[in-house]
């Protein structure tokens, strides 16, 4: 789940990046409106964490531009001014949620998970497919009741596939969802993670669709 963080304070930006990574998300961070616009146009993010007061303008302008071009990506606003009028203005301009600074990192992660869930059209927090369950909140994966030990990437990859049961997911899209800009992607990394996941979950779970990508197995 790639998240775009737009925050100008370097310490907070770093904290959000590290913290959201620990929550199993793939955050990318920018520090101003212009970079945010570019990042949003060039990439497909699952959610945006947007600061309102930015050096070159207001985060609300970024939000308005997004909604104007029919970008439905969920947006969580961060702001220091959390009076009611401010919150209402933010929500009415298309924000999906709102957090006043300073906030609790766990709460931010939980709210993001809720946004992502809603964005994917789900209400249930735990993803399930056949006998496999995946809990984005606890980062726990169970197969037939037994807890599996997955790396962060493996978890993210499985999460991505389980969000799209039966859909063929292109390798390019998976790479983009798994890695931020700063991380170089080896050409065969996705294959390596798939290989490891198959070893842990059993070989029938993830199918390779030749020339197209991967999907969760179609036949039970």
């Amino acid at each position: 789940m790639r998240i775009l963080i737009v925050e100008d304070d370097p310490v907070l930006r770093d904290g959000l990046q590290v913290g959201l990574q620990l929550s199993g998300l793939q955050p990318d961070a920018v520090s101003n409106c212009a970079d945010a616009e570019l990042a949003l146009l060039a990439n497909d993010f699952s959610a945006v964490v947007l600061d309102i007061m930015l050096p070159d303008g207001s985060g609300l302008d970024v939000l308005r531009a997004m909604r104007d071009r029919q970008d439905q990506t969920p947006v969580l606003l961060l702001t220091a001014r959390d009076d009611i009028a401010d919150r209402i203005a933010g929500l009415d301009q298309g924000a999906d949620d709102y957090l006043g600074k300073p906030f609790d990192l766990d709460e931010l992660a939980a709210r993001l998970r809720a946004l992502l869930r809603r964005g994917a059209g789900r209400a249930t927090p735990v993803l399930a497919w056949r006998n496999i369950t995946l809990d984005p909140a606890t980062l726990e994966v169970r197969c037939a009741g037994a807890v599996l030990a997955l790396t962060r990437r493996e978890f993210s990859l499985l999460h991505y596939l389980m969000e799209r049961p039966g859909q063929v997911c292109a390798k390019r899209a998976i790479e983009e969802a798994l890695y931020g800009w700063q991380e170089g992607v080896e050409s065969n990394t996705v294959e390596v993670h798939i290989h490891h996941l198959r070893a842990k979950l059993g070989s029938g779970v993830i199918e390779t669709v030749r020339g197209l990508g991967y999907r969760l197995g179609s036949e039970p």
Binding site: E7, D8, D9, P10, V11, L12, R13, D14, G15, L16, V18, G19, L22, S31, N32, A34, D51, M53, P55, D56, L78, T79, A80, R81, G100, K101, P102, F103, D104, L105, D106
Partner: protein, 454 residues
């Protein structure tokens, strides 16, 4: 005592109207008196000469006796005060009363010779014209009562003044209404202002106000716009301070939570380092907000003439550890200049420190910040050059706008330092100029202080 324009106007108008009326009355009085005098004197003279000429004919005796008959005019006598106002006496040259009109006194009406004279007889004043008839050897005296003349003038005055007096209250009422009506724009403006909501700082509509209220409305509008801009600044400041103080707190909290939650010592160390630098940044921010308050604080700038050299030395020395940590060298030149500047020592220090601090922050590791003091006629300049990236032309235009931050300023706090410096410089009558260095990359900031007159 409170002044009331309405009461003043009313009073002034009533007094001036009163004075005008009184002068008119006085003029009418004197004029009437003069006219009456003139007409009646002419009549006196004419009557005396008429009697005298009549006496030259033979019919006079009979005519005189007819006039003198007491029964000839009884009915009219009691009807009008203006009848029988003339008395006539004919005296022989030897001083014997030859003849007299009815009701005329027995003593001579005049003691002097020919012409006009006045005499008081038994309490009555008489105005008399005497003419001598040498041919007949008599003196003719015709007189009328001064009292009657007065009555005549008084009658005229009464006829003029009474309607005026009767009109006085009506005039007063009209004046009162006029004043009220004339001053209604004042009331309207007062009502408009009184009905305003406390946060309505829109200017008063000047198009409808009369020209006399122009200065007042424009003063009110100027005040309103000052209040509005002060309020806007306050709001901006509140938003800014909230952001600048709460954001580092959010960063600190997030990093602390990461440090607490992470098992990985590398992540934990990183988080702790971030906390430490976050605290430094917050401390600087708090200090800058206090600097800004100090630079903004109303009240007289203490003109304690500061010696520029020592101010710069102190600032650079206090920033040594910051420069060292960022591996930036600071080089001073001209710090032996002991010119006294016309600026408060503390404020000058605040301005210079914020500029040098920015320069250190934007200079890459191993770079150099040069602080040079130069003296010119009447001014002292402190020029701070850095090896940083300089500023985009578009950003240079916005510098000094409070709370403006250059796009890539995120690595080091806000652009508050520049607005602090600018506020101080404006206050002490100096200038702040920013240019990109011509000799390579980096920014050159020139602070020009006026020199102390002493």
């Amino acid at each position: 005592m409170r002044h009331s324009i309405r009461a003043r106007l009313l009073l002034i108008l009533l007094i001036t109207t009163g004075v005008a009326w009184l002068s008119a009355a006085a003029w009418i009085y004197t004029n009437t008196q003069r006219q009456v005098e003139h007409v009646l004197d002419a009549r006196l003279e004419e009557s005396a000469r008429m009697v005298s000429s009549l006496m030259s004919t033979d019919t006079v005796e009979a005519a005189m006796s007819a006039v003198a008959s007491p029964d000839s005019l009884p009915a009219i006598e009691r009807q009008s005060p203006y009848l029988r106002q003339l008395s006539c006496q004919i005296w022989s040259m030897s001083g014997k009363l030859v003849s007299q009109s009815e009701g005329a006194p027995d003593v001579p009406l005049a003691l002097s010779g020919d012409g006009f004279s006045e005499r008081s007889i038994n309490g009555d004043s008489w105005r008399v014209f005497t003419v001598s008839n040498a041919e007949r050897g008599v003196q003719v005296m015709v007189g009328d009562s001064v009292e009657v003349r007065r009555t005549l003038v008084f009658g005229v005055m009464q006829g003029t003044l009474l309607p005026m007096l009767a009109l006085l209250p009506i005039a007063g009422l009209l004046i009162w209404f006029s004043v009220r009506r004339g001053l209604s724009p004042l009331d309207e403006m007062a009502a408009t202002l009184a009905n305003r909501a406390a946060d309505d700082l829109q200017p008063v509509d000047t198009t409808r106000a009369p020209t006399e209220l122009g200065p007042i409305t424009s003063s009110i509008n100027a005040l309103l716009s000052r209040v509005a801009s002060a309020r806007a600044r306050e709001t901006t400041f509140t938003a800014f301070a909230a952001h600048e103080l709460k954001t580092p707190l959010a960063g600190l909290k997030t990093q602390a939570q990461i440090a607490l939650a992470s098992q990985d010592s590398a992540i934990r160390d990183h988080a702790l380092k971030q906390i430490s630098s976050g605290v430094d940044r917050s401390a600087r921010m708090v200090r800058q907000l206090l600097d800004l308050t100090a630079a903004d604080a109303p009240g007289s700038v203490s003109q304690a003439a500061a010696s520029i050299g020592s101010v710069v030395r102190d600032v650079v020395a206090s920033l040594d550890h910051v420069a060292e940590r960022r591996r930036v060298t600071t080089v001073c030149s001209g710090e032996e200049t002991s010119a006294a500047i016309a600026c408060d020592v503390t404020l000058a220090g605040i301005a210079i420190r914020n500029i040098v601090e920015n320069a250190i922050a934007y200079t890459p590791e191993g770079g150099e910040v040069r602080v040079a003091i130069t003296r010119a006629s009447g001014v002292v300049s402190v020029v701070v050059d850095d090896d940083g990236p300089g500023m985009a032309a578009a950003d240079l235009a916005h510098v000094g706008e409070r709370f403006f931050r250059a796009r890539d300023a995120s690595s080091f706090g806000s652009g508050l330092g520049l607005s602090i410096a600018e506020t101080v410089m404006t206050r002490c009558g100096g200038t702040l100029a920013l240019t990109n260095r011509a000799d390579g990359t980096g920014l050159s900031v020139r602070l020009t202080f006026p020199m102390s007159a002493a």
